[in-house]
């Protein structure tokens, strides 16, 4: 029974990693590729580490497997964020099927200023005060 669970975990983990590789090849632009690689690979490593911890069932190995999972979970999103952000601002083209882009109008490529777009909304809602200059 335990062998069955371990085997399932390892196969599922390697399938997710394979999926990340296929994703890199098939997906159309940088940002969607980042989606496929970082997260599927992180989940794959998590499952395989879980299987390793179950197989050896010793304190030192379980602790190391847990540490690997924690560090993957801490570093993978940061890497994805930094690569995706750099790619976007350097100007890599988005896929033609992209439905909307709320960032582009708020970004000034000359000053590198990124507005929130909330300024105008808040100004519109603001009630006039007596102290306002005419």
């Amino acid at each position: 029974m335990i062998d069955f669970i371990k085997g399932t975990l390892i196969i599922a983990g390697s399938l997710f990693m394979l999926l990340a590789a296929i994703g890199i090849l098939r997906l159309p632009d940088l940002l969607t590729r980042m989606h496929a690689t970082t997260k599927a690979a992180a989940l794959g490593v998590m499952l395989i580490m879980l299987a390793a911890a179950m197989h050896f069932a010793e304190t030192s190995i379980v602790a190391r497997a847990l540490a690997i999972v924690v560090f993957i979970l801490m570093t993978a999103p940061v890497a994805a964020h930094v690569i995706g952000r750099a790619g976007y601002f350097v100007g890599s083209k988005l896929w033609s099927g992209t439905v909307k882009d709320e960032l582009r109008p708020n970004y000034d490529p000359l000053t590198h200023e990124l507005k929130s777009g909330m300024e105008t909304q808040e100004n519109a809602k603001r009630q006039p005060r007596d102290t306002d200059p005419d």
């Binding site: 999103p77 439905v99 777009g117």
Partner: protein
Amino acid sequence: MTGAIWNLLLGLAWVMLSGDFSGLNLLVGLVFGYITLVLIEPQLASLKGYPARIPRIIGFVGFFLKELVQANLRVAFDVLTPPWHMRPGVIAMPLNAKTEMEITMVANLISLTPGTLSLDVSDDRKVLYIHAMFLDDEEGLRRNLKEMEHRALELFADESCVSYWSGDHEPGASARLCSRGARAKPARQSGGAGAVYNHYRRNGGVACHQVRRAQLS
């Protein structure tokens, strides 16, 4: 924080006294230490809110794992089948997280769930730009992201007030409310904050905005 240190000390004391230096025994010690802390919590002000935190963290981890697997399967389906079902796009999400630490944590969690990738935070720290892979149900996605942010912020809740966002109210409107530990203190003095919170829950946020406006003016 004090609670966590005491819990660890109690766990280590258990390991010392029982003389069995294994990871499993440390775990047992931590569980017994936690039970002790739950029992003496009402008598010690410095432990306030610690016992409630552990189930919240466990609940959060469970919620997060569920999201992770679910979204991964969806991306997997789209990668493997020939036609593209995805509708990617960049959306702006108003942030309730205020401090750098909270924003970092929320952005990381959003990056970790497949289907969403945090791109950048605006210069005034009010909006997080997110690249999402499936925008066919944008409202649902925004609700999901908000729920994740709310749950993540709850983990810090006993130190500072949580900003609570109501989904059915005007978008972007947020009310800073004290939950749990922080709420208990003013409630004892004036009987106000807790009642406001419940009132707020019932009326979908309208009452609280009025109260907040009254406090401001």
